[in-house]
Symmetry: C2
Subunit: 140 residues, 2 copies
């Protein structure tokens, strides 16, 4: 958990290696067996040229970074905005970075507005966005 | 895939049953083994009172609904905004509904602005939000 909630504070980054095995596990967990994710010969014939990770798998890593930083506040009550740019592929290494852009008060509650980026090993943006999480409350 | 892109059009709903097994698979796929998700005795002692699904697993079902409706456009280039309300638990049945709120033109490209809701069997809101996807382009 983050001990200091202050503007500009970087969140601990999360680094993940994408494999077809993880994509297959994700398909089982989510029930999303779209062949673009799990059928290599099908995917090879599409404009993607091969299988791609589920977009939400990439976002799962963002969520993990937020959970590590903010715990239960993130798990219920978090808000997320995400823009999917490029697809992640087996063999990619993704790095998720985030920081607290600002801390805002609303109705006696403090919220941390964070921005995040998930990039692959070439520096290409996979998904970017913002996440908002409650960090303290004067109210019960 | 949706054949008609028009305002008010409902997307085909997705219905999913949450099990501890799916949560465990999701933990393996994502690498997020936070005990609130996978350790039943730990989770029982928290304010949640038991394990909860990863928020992104719920969102994965939203993404599946969007992929079924919009295909590749959603997979690269989609935008998502989500508000996490309640946590889903093993035993829950989640229903994800969505519709096209409006179709907007920007720089010769049409975008479908969709809203979605994921509720459990009691009607409680798990996650709600908006998703934007490109539906046609005059440009190459």
């Amino acid at each position: 958990m983050l001990t200091e909630i202050q503007e500009g504070k970087a969140l601990n980054p999360v680094v993940k290696h994408i494999t077809q095995e993880k994509i297959n596990l994700y398909a089982e967990a989510s029930g999303d067996f779209n062949p673009i994710h799990v059928d290599e010969s099908f995917a090879a014939k599409t404009p993607f040229g091969g299988t791609i990770a589920h977009g939400m798998l990439n976002l799962a890593y963002v969520s993990e970074m937020m959970t590590l930083a903010f715990g239960r506040s993130w798990l219920s009550g978090g808000k997320l905005r995400a823009r999917f740019k490029e697809s992640a592929r087996p063999g990619d290494t993704l790095t998720i970075n985030g920081k607290i852009d600002c801390v805002e008060q609303k109705d006696g509650i403090s919220y941390a507005n964070c921005s995040f980026e998930c990039r692959n090993q070439k520096g290409e943006m996979i998904v970017a966005g913002e996440a908002i999480v409650k960090v303290s409350s004067d109210k019960k």
